[in-house]
Symmetry: C2
């Protein structure tokens, strides 16, 4: 089973620009080409690309992903480093989730704030139109 760049893009929810970018930057060294020089993707490419998406969306840089991919190619001697990389990524992702949850609480507060204003149709006197009075809200 093979796929075009568009099919892959749709399947993984990323743009064809990104796929070409990854390919051009050495993160997808195995994609083959057909007679017209078009990229041909196999299922194994899809799997690796979805790993790339996972790492990118959890904040790993393209450079580090490339390094990770090279480590995999180098074989077992690099298991330790790969383990360390994934542990770091794990921690970082946990931290980011925690961060987002904190920010979400702030946003929830804002939503509730506006909802109550809209519901009660409060007069202007309760919501001065000066920026200094509407900030994050303690």
């Amino acid at each position: 089973m093979t796929y075009t760049i568009h099919e892959v893009a749709e399947k993984l929810g990323i743009s064809t620009y990104s796929i070409r970018y990854y390919n051009d930057h050495g993160m997808l060294p195995f994609v083959q080409r057909d007679a017209n020089n078009n990229r041909v993707f196999h299922d194994t490419d899809l799997e690796w690309l979805s790993m790339i998406v996972c790492l990118r969306e959890t904040g790993m840089s393209v450079k580090r992903i490339k390094h990770y991919q090279e480590l995999i190619q180098e074989g077992d001697a690099t298991i330790n480093e790969r383990y360390a990389m994934m542990c770091a990524q794990q921690e970082q992702t946990l931290a980011e989730i925690a961060d987002l949850k904190k920010h979400l609480a702030t946003i929830n507060y804002k939503v509730a704030h506006y909802a109550s204003i809209l519901e009660n149709n409060e007069p202007d006197s309760f919501i001065p139109s000066n920026l200094r009075t509407e900030t994050v809200g303690k």
Copy 2:
């Protein structure tokens, strides 16, 4: 109580570059200057800046944050739009958290995978050094 740009940066965990950037791009229209033209921040500026940080870290663009700030200045007539913006931000953030959790599961799998290899000291035959064999892992 007033603060220098460095104090603000440290307090909020962002760089002075970012603060100047926000200021230059109209998101901090109220920061005052001292006799030497240095920025002077008040507590209200800190509060609004921490809201900016919240919105940025949950993915709102600088442009939209600026728009939000303008809406606040325009007063009550814009409550509806602000409410909509915060609702959108809320949804987006929830989606991102869900996404991150999914990716975290993949990373957890990798960590466990490497850990088990390192623990059992498995031979090469179990971990071929070809990229095609190590992808996301079903």
